[in-house]
């Protein structure tokens, strides 16, 4: 199926993570240009290595160091992208982080950090990118949420709350901007084989058969397919405000 993403300009956060790397690669393979907003240079090198191994066209990706907690920095970067590329067709908010800790033991700083990394950065960047999207009268936003938004677990109370916030952000923003031809959706990955999920994977092994209908963890590829599907106007032009579970049936 042609996703119609050729020459589309995609802004991606969290591109250096396990799922983000795959999303970046697949957009490039579909002919899009991906602008990765990053914080950590070392991780960018890892991403470039990964893209090289996959023989991705490195001319189709660019990198901008961005402090996603700094509103003015975000505005500058977004306006640079618009100046250089002329438009922004797709935003994928994939940056996020999980710290497992009993909620009763979390410090105020840890709660703040959880909110900032998982929710506030997404809101600030989305706000800045809505400006060119309003102007274009088109755009597609895909947020990476988690099954934790609906079914939490011990030690991830704050993380689950932020992910539930992303779901709500997705639905309500979709309501606000739909008339301007901007779609907003989310994916909810379940247990996905990445570095971030390694500790969970080893602990959860014995529960997998009974809790996940498909009896296995998912792969970053299985998540990125969902992201590209929702991002594309060729496949998801009538889909907005939805959160797509990519969880092997965990939430059933």
């Amino acid at each position: 199926m042609n996703l119609g993403l050729n020459n589309k300009i995609v802004v991606l956060t969290g591109a250096t993570g396990g799922i983000g790397q795959q999303i970046c690669l697949e957009f490039i393979q579909e002919g899009a240009h991906v602008v990765c907003l990053f914080r950590n240079e070392k991780k960018v090198e890892d991403l470039i290595d990964r893209l090289k191994v996959s023989k991705a066209d490195l001319n189709s990706v660019s990198f901008k160091k961005t402090n996603l907690l700094h509103k003015n920095n975000i505005r500058e970067v977004v306006s640079e992208i618009v100046k250089e590329k002329g438009r922004i067709d797709v935003l994928v908010n994939c940056a996020g982080n999980v710290v497992e800790l009993p909620f009763a033991m979390m410090s105020e700083e840890q709660i703040d950090q959880m909110y900032q990394v998982n929710l506030k950065t997404m809101m600030l960047l989305t706000q800045a990118i809505l400006k060119p999207m309003f102007s274009q009268k088109s755009g597609s936003i895909v947020n990476v949420s988690s099954i934790a938004a609906l079914r939490g677990g011990r030690g991830i109370t704050a993380y689950s709350s932020m992910k539930a916030g992303i779901d709500s952000f997705t639905r309500t923003l979709a309501l606000e901007v739909g008339r301007k031809n901007i779609r907003v959706n989310a994916v909810r990955p379940g247990g996905i084989k990445t570095k971030m999920s390694e500790p969970l994977e080893s602990r959860a092994e014995k529960y997998i058969p009974e809790r996940i209908i498909l009896s296995r963890f998912g792969t970053p590829e299985e998540v990125s397919k969902g992201v590209l599907f929702l991002a594309s106007d060729a496949t998801a032009s009538y889909i907005t405000g939805t959160c797509l579970n990519i969880d092997g049936g965990y939430l059933v």
Binding site: L130, F134, S135, E176, V177
Partner: protein, 133 residues
Amino acid sequence: MEIEEIYKNVAEVIENSVGTPKESIGLDQTLFDELGVDSIDLVDILFELESLYDIELKINDIESRAKKELGDKPYEIDGVITNEGLVVIRDFMTEIDPAKLKEGLTVHELVQLFTVHSLCKIVKYRIDEESKS
């Protein structure tokens, strides 16, 4: 830059956002009730005007201007514009019927009274402010 010149661009931007032909957009028409602009259209319109004039624009620029003029006196208390605040607003927003700028008016209700002319004035105010800095 004169209001008349700004008005031409504002009318065009409103046409692009809500579809009302620019020829039928009058300076005295209210944005919300008469032109059917809603809050999201307004964001869209402000974004376009920001790009057009390379300024930062907020609908509460009127509020900022009034606060600046009032100095230490409060502009609003719990969302209700103070009498001192109303005096400043009446002076600046002469295009709005003074009878509508009555005691007890809230910040939210004031925005609902904005006309195309009010929007042009906000743009002009911001252009002038930014040229000073």
